[in-house]
């Protein structure tokens, strides 16, 4: 097979670009291996948020052998900012349904915690996004992770140069952490799902709004370090109305009519990426996380509930993430 000079240069450029993107991940930089032998993902059909959620979610959770008896459960939604009409935040009704379900499963305490990444006025964003009313109605405490008491913790991996982070006491004291992302595209990291959602535990009072130090250290690398340090025990992802395009704030709503439950955050994110029409292996933090935080291969994932179908048209993404689309 012969190759023209132009083809040769294009190939060299493509390989170089791939090496540049992947280079930070070639050398394993983790100290723990949390991958389970097998992972479980359940897809629940939920067309809209006005449908009854409580029983659906409770029955969905019963499909997992989870034990929260007597434990403190932290629900970590994605609550970034509020822009009318934009599907930015995990819907409060889904979060409340999760809280009720964990209470029914015997949890001692259920708290909702978030450190909003853009909006510094937590009360304003809680009110505008509908959380305040729902939290009051269900008598569920909210912890502002941006302003909680902090403890210094050595990171469980070294993809960034940070070595340690100051993290909220409420997060570190929780015995069962549930990442509840809004399924969205993201203009800096490709997607924001259960792993990326955990950057919300990094406190703004210390690191600023947004948490710019994580951008400078590399978002994909920061996600890996934070998730290696703060374990996610369960995932409930809001893909009822997802977001495509210029996420995480200014994309367009994209209805998927699905709630994704998983006992492994990597399996959850890989499944969500497939639901979005993406190839999870092309998203650096998911690919790397599958080496030590969970399973991304369908062979290692027991899938239940609805059938996972890739959409005919993958989610729209900003130009430099076109390569993550599977079609």
């Amino acid at each position: 097979m012969t190759m023209t000079r132009r083809e040769f240069l294009a190939t060299v450029a493509a390989v170089s670009a791939g090496v540049t993107v992947s280079a930070p991940f070639f050398r394993p930089r983790y100290r723990i291996d949390r991958r389970p032998g097998r992972s479980r993902v359940v897809l629940l059909r939920l067309e809209n948020y006005s449908r009854p959620i409580d029983e659906l979610l409770f029955l969905g959770l019963r499909l997992f052998p989870i034990n929260v008896q007597g434990k403190t459960v932290l629900l970590k939604p994605n609550l970034v900012d509020y822009i009318p009409g934009n599907a930015i935040n995990t819907h409060p009704r889904l979060v409340m349904a999760a809280a009720e379900a964990f209470r029914r499963l015997g949890a001692r305490n259920v708290v909702v915690g978030e450190g909003a990444g853009h909006q510094r006025d937590t009360e304003l964003v809680l009110f505008e996004s509908g959380y305040e009313r729902e939290l009051q109605l269900h008598n569920i405490p909210f912890v502002d992770l941006n302003r909680d008491e902090l403890l210094r913790l050595r990171l469980g991996a070294s993809y960034t140069d940070l070595e340690y982070l100051w993290l909220p006491k409420a997060v570190l004291a929780s015995e069962f952490i549930v990442s509840m992302p809004k399924v969205k595209t993201h203009h800096w990291s490709g997607v924001t799902l259960s792993l990326k959602n955990m950057l919300g535990v990094v406190p703004g009072n210390k690191y600023g709004w947004p948490k710019n130090i994580l951008h400078w250290q590399g978002i994909q690398q920061s996600v890996l370090d934070v998730c290696a340090t703060v374990p996610i025990h369960f995932v409930i992802a809001d893909a009822v109305i997802a977001m495509e395009g210029n996420g995480p704030l200014n994309g367009s709503p994209r209805p998927l009519g699905m709630v994704v439950l998983a006992d492994d955050p990597v399996a959850a994110d890989a499944s969500c990426a497939r639901l979005m029409g993406f190839e999870p292996g092309r998203i650096p933090h998911i690919r790397e996380a599958s080496r030590f935080l969970g399973n991304s291969s369908p062979v290692l994932i027991d899938q239940a509930g609805e059938v996972l179908r890739r959409p005919e048209m993958p989610f729209q993404v900003v130009p430099h993430f076109q390569h993550i689309r599977a079609i």
């Binding site: 853009h118 510094r120 006025d121 304003l124 009110f127 203009h187 600023g208 710019n212 130090i213 900003v318």
Partner: protein
């Protein structure tokens, strides 16, 4: 630091305690930490601490050390290498990297709120007036705020446009920027932002945003009686667990004293 600004000298014991605590937690490099026990590298709180100490002439040494640190602290885009990067390869956010201010944390970009706090500190700290470099930083910081304004007025956390999409302004970020730009009322960015905040403030009820909005609008000679009534009502009815929000609310309800400090 917010509490120190809000406390009046009449509250003698509490005030003296807060002052002692503030002076004791200054880092050896002159900066202030985000909280007691924090790393010693310094942060955005240095500007707030200096503002709180602005009228404490007896604490000159502490002020000068803090000022020195503040003048050395700059957004990462202030270096030629990063300016070049932002001009050539990293163009998704629209901003002029030659106009820089202050970061939240060392080794990160300039952002609106820390820049506005630093401008307020430099303007009101007497020992800053004779330092030549302070004028240069004030000028660049002011230019940075004017450059990052959202289309239509107001400020978000940093840039006004990302990926060609205008960002929505935040009331608190806008108010703090307007306090720092009190001396530039003729700038169109300031006029547009004031108009936006005046209209937005009427819809607010969260004490943090309401208090900052009242302070900024009062500083620009707008009538804030209605906002203060609303704030007083809110403060009286909710259980406020966050000290910073409580202090900023107290400051707004006693806005004349704070504005006198800014006019000194």
């Amino acid at each position: 630091m917010y509490s120190m600004l809000a406390l009046q000298r009449e509250h003698e014991g509490a005030y003296a305690g807060a002052l002692r605590c503030l002076l004791d937690c200054q880092n050896p490099n002159g900066s202030w930490p985000c909280f007691i026990g924090d790393d010693g590298e310094g942060a955005w709180t240095t500007a707030l601490a200096l503002l709180a100490l602005a009228n404490h002439f007896a604490e000159g040494a502490s002020q000068r050390k803090g000022l020195q640190w503040l003048l050395q602290s700059a957004g990462k885009e202030s270096s030629w290498l990063w300016r070049w990067k932002f001009r050539t390869s990293d163009r998704q956010v629209r901003f002029d990297a030659s106009k820089f201010g202050w970061p939240w944390q060392p080794n990160t970009n300039s952002w609106v709120v820390p820049t506005a706090f630093a401008i307020l500190a430099l303007r009101h700290l007497p020992c800053a007036w004779s330092v030549e470099h302070s004028g240069f930083r004030l000028e660049r910081g002011t230019e940075m705020l004017l450059d990052r304004v959202c289309p239509g007025g107001g400020w978000n956390a940093g840039n006004g446009v990302v990926y060609g999409v205008p960002l929505a302004p935040h009331p608190d970020d806008t108010a703090i920027a307007l306090l720092a730009l009190k001396h530039c009322p003729e700038e169109s960015a300031v006029r547009e932002s004031l108009a936006w905040l005046e209209s937005e403030a009427l819809t607010l009820w969260a004490p943090w945003s309401l208090a900052w909005s009242a302070l900024a609008l009062a500083a620009h000679s707008r009538c804030v009686a209605r906002l203060l009534n609303c704030l007083a009502d809110r403060v009286g009815h909710i259980d406020m667990s966050d000290n910073a929000t409580l202090a900023v609310s107290a400051l707004a309800l006693d806005s004349e004293r704070f504005l006198a400090l800014l006019s000194s």
